[in-house]
């Protein structure tokens, strides 16, 4: 959906948190829930386009982890996997209490190994 703005947001967030150390980042991992409307292929392409334009980041890698949608059923007191956007527990009880699937965040940052 808004893959390019998400990529810009990734770099804004990283520079806010790591300042100049951002240049030492080798790899970042982004976790996106299925409900965040993020397409891994599109975000990868947007990321590649961004680092092609911003040469200082040209060696940086991106990994996208996609999380399934998980909802909680009050009736069973258990979490269940939401498949095909059917927010109904296997027991038949509908539920929109989303436990996982809305999230979109940088989950891991790996820095370059310096050999002195």
């Amino acid at each position: 959906m808004h893959e390019l703005s998400i990529v810009k947001d990734i770099f804004d967030t990283l520079s806010a948190h790591y300042a100049t150390k951002i240049d030492d980042i080798q790899k970042i991992q982004v976790t996106a829930g299925l409900l965040s409307n993020v397409q891994p292929v599109l975000i990868q392409n947007a990321f590649d386009a961004f680092i092609a334009d911003n040469r200082q980041y040209r060696d940086m890698e991106l990994e996208v982890i996609v999380n399934d949608i998980i909802a909680h059923c009050d009736h069973c007191q258990k979490d269940f996997n939401v498949q095909y956007h059917r927010f109904v527990c296997p027991c038949g009880q509908p539920s929109t209490q989303i436990v996982q699937g809305n999230e979109l965040f940088i989950s891991k940052v790996i820095f370059k190994q310096h050999v002195s």
Binding site: M1, H2, S5, I6, D9, I10, T13, L14, A16, H17, Y18, A19, K21, V30, L35, S36, N37, Y84, H85, R86, F87, V88, P94, S95, T96, E103, L104, F105, I106, S107, K108, V109, I110, F111, Q113, H114, V115, S116
Partner: protein
């Protein structure tokens, strides 16, 4: 985990060590902060975010609602479109206080645009503020605009298979209005099928069938609005009393 940007926690590490940070740096969160600011600012105004695909009858419904509720409620509207002032002009024609938000080709309204628009529209005495979103069932679903309720229109000409195709829109809405109900005898659209599809995505979704052409369902829609405005005012009064 919070990291001080002025003093990155990795700064002291010796050169030569591999470092891996497990983080929870949330992305696109700025919109949610701004949305919260809008909620704080509009404590006693009921805000309704109206979404749908282009051409499903948002603007006509807003005009008709304005006419019907003119005596009961003071209504204002922020109208979002990629280009032109046309919809705001249509609103003012029926006497509704309106401000156009031209998104400049953008496919959705963001909270920041609403916050800025609030400085340019006089909401003194306003009970109900509509935000007419850009016609699009996908992108607007991801942007909280500080609204109290999200209402999604689905016209009978669009097909009854849409809730499952655009799940996030229907998942984040409180009410689905099946519009252009006067066309039901002529189009292959089942209100039962669309409701069933929508309830699988969002079991709490309310469904109403309306037609701005023959007036079907508009009384129920207006009653729904009046009840929501009343609830918002009561909630605002309770917080001021405390």
């Amino acid at each position: 985990m919070s990291v001080n940007p002025a003093n990155p926690k990795s700064a002291g590490n010796r050169v030569g060590s591999v470092q891996c940070d497990n983080t929870t740096l949330h992305l696109l969160k700025a919109n949610d902060y701004v949305a919260q600011a809008i909620r704080t600012r509009l404590k006693d105004v009921c805000v309704i975010n109206v979404c749908s695909s282009p051409g499903s009858g948002k603007t006509t419904l807003m005009q008709e609602t304005g006419k019907r509720l003119a005596k009961d409620l003071n209504i204002s509207i922020l109208v979002g479109d990629p280009e032109t002032e046309r919809d705001a002009v249509r609103m003012r024609e029926v006497g509704i206080n309106a401000l156009q938000i031209v998104t400049g080709g953008m496919c959705h309204i963001e909270a920041q645009m609403i916050l800025q628009a609030l400085d340019h529209i006089d909401l003194t005495g306003t009970d109900l503020l509509f935000i007419e979103n850009v016609g699009n069932l996908l992108c607007p679903s991801a942007f909280d605009l500080g609204e109290d309720y999200r209402v999604t229109l689905l016209a009978t000409t669009e097909g009854d298979d849409k809730p499952k195709k655009y799940p996030r829109m229907f998942l984040t809405s409180e009410l689905m209005l099946v519009s252009k109900a006067d066309l039901l005898p002529y189009v292959p659209f089942s209100v039962d099928a669309v409701s069933k599809d929508a309830w699988e995505v969002n079991p709490n979704l309310e469904v109403m069938t309306i037609s701005t052409l023959n007036g079907e369902g508009l009384d129920a829609w207006c009653d729904w609005l009046k009840a929501k405005v009343q609830a918002k005012k009561e909630a605002a009064n309770q917080t001021t009393e405390k």
